[in-house]
Symmetry: D2
Amino acid sequence: MKASYMEDTLNKVSEFKFSVGVQVRFSETDMFGHLNNTVTFTYFEFARIEYLKSLGLMTNWQQEEVQNILVVADLQCDYLKQVFFDEKLEIYVRTARIGTSSIDLHYLAKNEKDEPVFTGRGTVVQINRHSGKGAAWTEDEKQLLHGK
Amino acid sequence: MKASYMEDTLNKVSEFKFSVGVQVRFSETDMFGHLNNTVTFTYFEFARIEYLKSLGLMTNWQQEEVQNILVVADLQCDYLKQVFFDEKLEIYVRTARIGTSSIDLHYLAKNEKDEPVFTGRGTVVQINRHSGKGAAWTEDEKQLLHGK
Amino acid sequence: MKASYMEDTLNKVSEFKFSVGVQVRFSETDMFGHLNNTVTFTYFEFARIEYLKSLGLMTNWQQEEVQNILVVADLQCDYLKQVFFDEKLEIYVRTARIGTSSIDLHYLAKNEKDEPVFTGRGTVVQINRHSGKGAAWTEDEKQLLHGK
Amino acid sequence: MKASYMEDTLNKVSEFKFSVGVQVRFSETDMFGHLNNTVTFTYFEFARIEYLKSLGLMTNWQQEEVQNILVVADLQCDYLKQVFFDEKLEIYVRTARIGTSSIDLHYLAKNEKDEPVFTGRGTVVQINRHSGKGAAWTEDEKQLLHGK
């Protein structure tokens, strides 16, 4: 499973159509002088939300009346190259699989030399806020997800 | 103002009757090899909440029906000594002043050699959740605050 | 791969012999009211280092003359149950596989009701600080790793 | 002291000539739904370093041979208005006072409506890396600091 996601991510770079930029903050480094391992997930979260916003999903998720919310089922990161203070990274996101009420997102981070520095994946599930059960994507939502 | 709080904090160490322990995490260090400056405020927050819980305040603040909540008006930290990975610190808190609807809290962090490593202060205000206005302490609450 | 690690982690709970406690800080929650997803990796890091220290590994890793250091190759977390502010969690760690110069660590977090709330895994590699190449475990180190 | 810095910061907005933008991340909110209080210091740190880089200071501070480094002596933040997820803030920095080997920096954060949401201040001291003692600014450095 891991192998196939990594292959996908690194071999199909051209399939990533969305990305956001981040700049490594001093507070995000650790005493080894690198970006701390735990911070990559913060970047994935930022990129994921921007990506979902760009698709037109999550436009009203902060409102009280919203029935369905998106929750993270799992997260994974593979570290390929050290990242240092002040580097500017581009974090790419794409939908690798659309399930009934879930999506698998793939992530790829590249440095200014266009080198992959870390990759990631994770499943996001749409659930009903009240029942906690999976809420199937509508056809409209599937269209949005197929877009990018 | 700063001068007087520092004097207070360092000269009246015996007036601190409450403390909590924290251990510096690897992710809390930065590339200079020290505890990152921004993390001390996380420790203050942790200590502050434990302190207020110990007083019997904030026992029900997470419930919907709660009228009054506590908000932080300002925060300050003075760095006295470098703190390193894995050090165990004791974070002391005390109420230095009780106002009509606010309190000034003082903080002191000591390392395992009992040396002060940083101090802090900050005002916390009780406000009405709906009006956003200051909500005066009851006599009972003042009693609790005088306790420590 | 994921399936097998999850099975392992949840079915072989009794094989976890090491754990550390953490308490969810207010600053570690997010606007959904839960422990933010990115913080579980901070807990894993804290537990991993305490675990390695408990084995007698990493006793001198902060010193200049150290030849070999441990680096994280990948990290994964599966979220089973929501975790809230102030909960006390126990984070379990064990070595699930010993390679030539790497180990696979499994993680399990339980709440105060002894329910699993999230699990994780990740490979740690010992590399030579100067060459950046994998550095094989000594027989002594393998013994230490077999201990827990 | 506090009073005068606040006055300075809010009344002399036009004296701020440098700023950086930040966008509030989901992981930076807390269960109250706001930007967590501790994160403002992370923004100050990011803005401070960008500011010092823009002045031409700290251009070589990551190199081994550097004699003098800048350390934070104290930090302060006053919270004026709640800040929410996804807001774009502009963080302004300026040098309010130049001492022999230190500077006082003032910070001001504004939201997209151009409203001040929090202010801050803090002293940064240049010390000799080896002796730990204050290292006086050169005339060239003072010129750079007067620039903005």
